[in-house]
Symmetry: C2
Subunit: 469 residues, 2 copies
Amino acid sequence: MKTIILCGGKGTRLWPLSREHLPKQFIKIFDNKSLFQKSVERAKLFSDEDEIFIVTNNNYKFMVLNELKEISTNIPEKNILLEPSGKNTLPAIYLGIKAIKKIYGDCNVQVLPSDHVIDANNPYVEAFKTGENLANQGLVTFGITPTTSHIGYGYIGIGKAGKSTKEGNEGSHKLFKVNDFKEKPDLETAKKYVREGYLWNSGMFIFNTKIFTETVRDMTPKIYNAFESSDDLAEIYKKIPEISVDYGIIEKSKNVFVVPLNTPWNDLGSFDAIYEIYDKDENENARFGEYISINASKNLVITKRLTALVGVENLAVIDSWDALLIARRGETQKVKEIFKILKDKGDERAITDKTSYRPWGQYTVLEDGERYKIKHIVVLPKKRLSLQMHYHRSEHWIVVKGMAKIVVDGKEMFLRNGESTFIPSGFTHRLENPGKVLLEIMEVQIGEYLKEDDIERFEDDFGREKKKD
Amino acid sequence: MKTIILCGGKGTRLWPLSREHLPKQFIKIFDNKSLFQKSVERAKLFSDEDEIFIVTNNNYKFMVLNELKEISTNIPEKNILLEPSGKNTLPAIYLGIKAIKKIYGDCNVQVLPSDHVIDANNPYVEAFKTGENLANQGLVTFGITPTTSHIGYGYIGIGKAGKSTKEGNEGSHKLFKVNDFKEKPDLETAKKYVREGYLWNSGMFIFNTKIFTETVRDMTPKIYNAFESSDDLAEIYKKIPEISVDYGIIEKSKNVFVVPLNTPWNDLGSFDAIYEIYDKDENENARFGEYISINASKNLVITKRLTALVGVENLAVIDSWDALLIARRGETQKVKEIFKILKDKGDERAITDKTSYRPWGQYTVLEDGERYKIKHIVVLPKKRLSLQMHYHRSEHWIVVKGMAKIVVDGKEMFLRNGESTFIPSGFTHRLENPGKVLLEIMEVQIGEYLKEDDIERFEDDFGREKKKD
């Protein structure tokens, strides 16, 4: 089975952990792996690495590549499909299906969101096996057995057995055709759904490419026609509307199977959702990071520094290096309003944290002084920065890990761990990691003007010579 | 009039703003001046700089010197009196009075705490003038007109006019002899005190040295005898008990005047006190630092980074670089328990923040990596660090401000802004600021062992040659 991982989601509801350029699929809150990395590992249960396709966009491409490298997964770069703009899930899936069909012909494809939490446990594996067996008969979706009357999820109605529902048995899973889909309900309705055996709509699917394409052709011809009449993505994406796979085909088709899946699942749609699923201490506090408290209970604390709570309850305390959020639990969906306030006034802290991601690696600003700036730069193995020059600042580079190959004013040299060099303003220079491990350097910039736009590039970020504008 | 500024108080109740080595008199929360600096400026209303004496201890000496320099005050270093240990206010004042008497003979001395907030407005100046005129007749204390029935302050009873109280008129101030002193009362008692015209005990005094010394001799002979029988401070402080000036003489003497002072005053004894006195926005939030909120009210926010509040009220949110406190307002006195927990387990964050103060200036750790450490070092004009050597680390120094004179392996050189040098492990080196402005350098340490104890010093911090142990 092939895989499409949907990895284009923006991060607004988990600010300040997530940012526009660091959406929730890439953040590592709870252990050393991101939700995206975990979705890749789930994909590998059913697909070889070169059968996994990732649909994302140009902003996230290098983060995807870095995160794949971190978990030693070598998905080919050509399998990373870049949408020109976000148009919701149906176009993203169509883009993946079209690419897969072109290589493999018609086949079965599992579609996995990259920003949900689910364990790849035995029930999960069994459900996906069942789904794969059904994929030649119709569209397959997965319905999670509800544990609460959640009002933040969509529900799948499987009808009553033996009535409008075709029921069967395959392996250990009961199989149902879908009866109806319900949007996020109010609490009373949610309770009714849970009583009546509805399932949570998980956003995971298995599609046969042929059935999928034909269904889109019949149900949402605008999408089908746009994708089938051109290979120019920019042109296609200009034509098509934003539309979800649920609204576009799943809710309209009469030929949809739902495989029930009784396992913990969470869409991490807000900090309230995070509090719900994670372990609590004896005072019902869910804690990530260093923490002490006196008489504090029912709090969610995610912190990068020592956090002390005194006499408070029902708070979500989310601490990042450059921003701090304190919200009443139950009102954390309003975090997206905070995000919007920042975004609307052009505040950079809506977009990125102190770390910026680049094709060659990343850098973090440690201190931003009046006439100096300190950066921690990490260069990926075999990557190099563009040949460049600054008019207003000189730079000191000190290697703190790995080995650097540098060119300063045309002269090439190697710097080992502990060695340093000085680049006066006006000198061309290039930094490269020739090695097989990460290169880390401290850069101390000194000058009267230290903004990122004091740079004359002679190559692009891929090392290709660049014409001056 | 001479001045004694009491500057030995420890900071435990305003953690994480204050630390054991950074007590509240030195923190700059609200504007660019510390409470200590403001107390020096009040002192200067009545004293020349060389008439001001500061009683503190060795831990704070260099912070005192730095802060005096910041406000361009040249109190002679000999006027900074160092207590071997903290024994509460009476010994501290005796130490100051004894030093003043030795130089000036008998005279009047104002005693000012360095950790209270009070405006040096007209009523303040008038009250101190009145107090100075009274000082030859008895001990003079200042009583603040209460604005609330505060249960955190001591109260001074001035009795009813014409009864046990001698009343007079001097300038615009009514004068009263003190009737009685009351410790921190419960709320009902506090209300009664306020109704009956009691005043808050401000901790400010004016003493004639002769009357003060005789009163101590009569009321607390242990203190008098210890100080008068020796000039060896270590010996004196070993003998004497901890005792406050209130308990030791003021509450016992029958000859105490109280000058009423109707002006805003606050002892900043907790974050609740800070909330009380500072300006609030339309939602009754008191805010220091960058802040946005949705539906948040009655909070105190003191922050170093952007802080977003959603749907919370009555919180004290105190954010420092390495620790974060969130306490329910009304319970902030429990912060000292947090401090104690940290202190008891030897957590450095009870003692210092990321900045350490030294005789020659200060340094701040910017990043502490596995095999590297980045420090921002500030060297005061005309100061130098000891000649030293490290076995396990090499150091890079980059001058980001000012001019450095350095000696590496016996060779002397000057480094200007933007220049750098490298000190291999095993090389002796010394850093000096020969200039008249601050020297700032970035130090990047690289090595397998980066703790502060990898240091071989050949001189002490005052540049005196040191014998090896």
